[in-house]
Subunit: 367 residues, 2 copies
């Protein structure tokens, strides 16, 4: 796996069961995955030479994040190495303009958008679609970074003045945010998890409920849409498709990620097979595991570093006092806003499990 963060850490945990030896490529051996025992290769996700060293040691290469040298991956594929997802599928996660335009051309419901160079073009776009509009960094954004809601030409200009490449999107009114998580094998077999309801705070996913508390017909449409995208972009491994449900119950695609995703964390305890296990199985072209749930509902709350210094490791005993709470720590030290771990609770009732998970998360992160 290129990248050694928490997704690689949880993939390593799944790899242990299957007798798979996980190697990870990342700059620092103290990152979450090598700290949990994945075999460490030193190097960055830009470093094509380091990719070669990793490739020589493993059967297949996959990714912990999308900020990876895609040209370097292309050359690995040309030289006969197995890279899953393919660089072509990765492009949908790396380049938002490409994803919007290609998915739109394929007929999938994306927000109105435009490539822009200056504030004049934003103003023209807004004259058609109305203010506010959304400015998005074409690449490199995550966890709300690189997404700006602007209500005037002046605000837009201020964003552009920071530099970088931006696109403009129509503002979509949101009733509910959801994600569909799909595992897909090279030959096309897919396994799709129940729709996940996600709650974002300032662009960062803070909690999830699986299955989403939405209309059955909308859920079925979302599953159909996610699965169609997986097929259309020929992803291998996990694909997460983030969507908005508008107040009129329409589905609009937000982002796609071609890797295990935060919205799938409840699958560790909530599903027969976790997204991490199914990612490995898909990448290795092995049969996929069941995505059926193990209980009626699962809720996950992320552990985000608060403004005051609180180390979740020092609060673990308090959090574990609730015997139903599953704590996952990523081996990272506190920093404000940093994802330090997550907690999951499964049960019969969404409100109950969400309340338990929120309580534990507060204990682990709040002073």
């Amino acid at each position: 796996m290129i990248g050694g963060g928490q997704l690689a850490r949880m993939t390593h945990r799944a790899a242990i069961d299957l007798g798979i030896t996980m190697h990870v490529l990342c700059p620092d051996k103290h990152e979450p995955a090598p700290a949990a025992g994945a075999i460490w290769h030193q190097g960055s996700a830009d470093d094509e030479q380091a990719f070669r060293g990793l490739a020589a040691a493993v059967d297949a290469i996959t990714l912990d994040h999308e900020l990876v040298n895609r040209d370097g991956l292309e050359r690995l594929v040309k030289d006969g190495y197995t890279v899953r997802p393919s660089p072509a599928a990765l492009a949908f996660a790396q380049d938002k303009l490409f994803a919007r335009s290609t998915l739109g051309d394929m007929g999938f419901p994306v927000p109105a958008f435009s490539e822009i160079d200056d504030a004049d073009q934003i103003e023209t776009f807004a004259s058609h679609h109305g203010w506010p509009v959304v400015l998005k960094a074409r690449s490199g954004g995550y966890d709300g970074r690189g997404v700006e809601l602007v209500s005037s030409r002046d605000d837009a200009q201020a964003v552009l003045d920071r530099g970088g490449n931006w696109l403009v999107e129509a503002f979509v009114p949101i009733a509910t945010e959801i994600a569909v998580v799909i595992a897909r094998r090279p030959g096309g077999q897919t396994a799709t998890y129940p729709v996940v309801e996600t709650v974002q705070d300032d662009g960062i996913c803070v909690e999830l409920v699986m299955p989403a508390r939405i209309d059955d017909a909308v859920a079925a449409s979302a599953i159909e849409l996610g699965t169609s995208i997986a097929k259309a972009i020929e992803v291998t491994g996990i694909l997460a498709v983030e969507m908005f449900i508008t107040p009129k119950a329409e589905l609009v695609i937000n982002e796609v990620a071609t890797r295990p995703h935060n919205s799938g964390h409840a699958t560790i305890e909530g599903s027969v097979t976790s997204q991490f296990s199914n990612h490995l199985r898909a990448v290795l072209d092995w049969p996929l595991g069941s995505t059926a749930m193990t209980s009626a509902v699962a809720a996950t709350v992320n552990l985000l570093g608060g403004d005051q210094h609180v180390e979740p490791t020092e609060r673990l005993q308090q959090a574990l006092a609730d015997p139903d709470v599953h704590v996952h720590l990523y081996g990272k030290g506190w920093r404000p806003g940093r994802k330090l771990g997550h907690v999951t609770v499964t049960g019969d009732d969404a409100d109950t499990v969400l309340a338990s998970a929120r309580r534990a998360a507060a204990v682990l992160t709040q002073p």
Copy 2:
């Protein structure tokens, strides 16, 4: 953890979630736990000097097996290191004569037994209790090794001629074999899993069903008995108490193990908290997790190396064709009779899940 086998490997997997860094002491870095990324300290379970190196690196020492230098552990405790289970509790797992006599004196139901030095004493014992009798190695036996059913003085003499210390026991007619798995904190808090039904073949555990398909009143008595033993011997961590149910529905204690145990493997998927996670929590004196089941029933079948060379890794894709099967491989190469892994299936019906688990196990181990 002293020892780096599959129990340490699965404990390491549980440690990752809790942000615990697992160190293991074992002779070879290719053993199951260091191969999965637990930090390796080279040394044997006899080597008191190696214990000191391990102790200096960790907060608490625990055990993957019982064949550990107990005097060395005693001296660690005297020097202020945390060792859980205590050497006094470990003695019940190490020394069968001590366990039998002490548990018997405490009033727990153990088979009639006697210390013996020669075949005359065995014949005298048999004259009171009848042939056949069971000869047991006083220490060091496991997986059926060190247990001999003998029906005559000549057979008994043949066993004694091999050397070693033996005790004799009355043969107990067995309707069902079960195990009770309990986690216990230093202060006395316990969490007990549902009774597990175990099936042995030639003394090796081959499969488990949780909960055991036995009378509720017998199950309740078994839980009570197991919990009482945990308290009486003041174990810290997991205690597994193997018991026989006689045709008259009486409970007789067979063996005790003061560590995570094969009979608890179904807890990984079958229980809210696995025995491995609860072992860590108990050893670190943290609150214990729920031992409630995640489904009506869970079945586990061990992967034992067959007579012909079959590597489970090469059969994994076939086994995973059943999307409900959970495969756990221990990273060990094939040898006849060797425990190479296990498979677990959860569901609503014991016969169904057992059939699936057996089918997968056969695929993984049989030519």
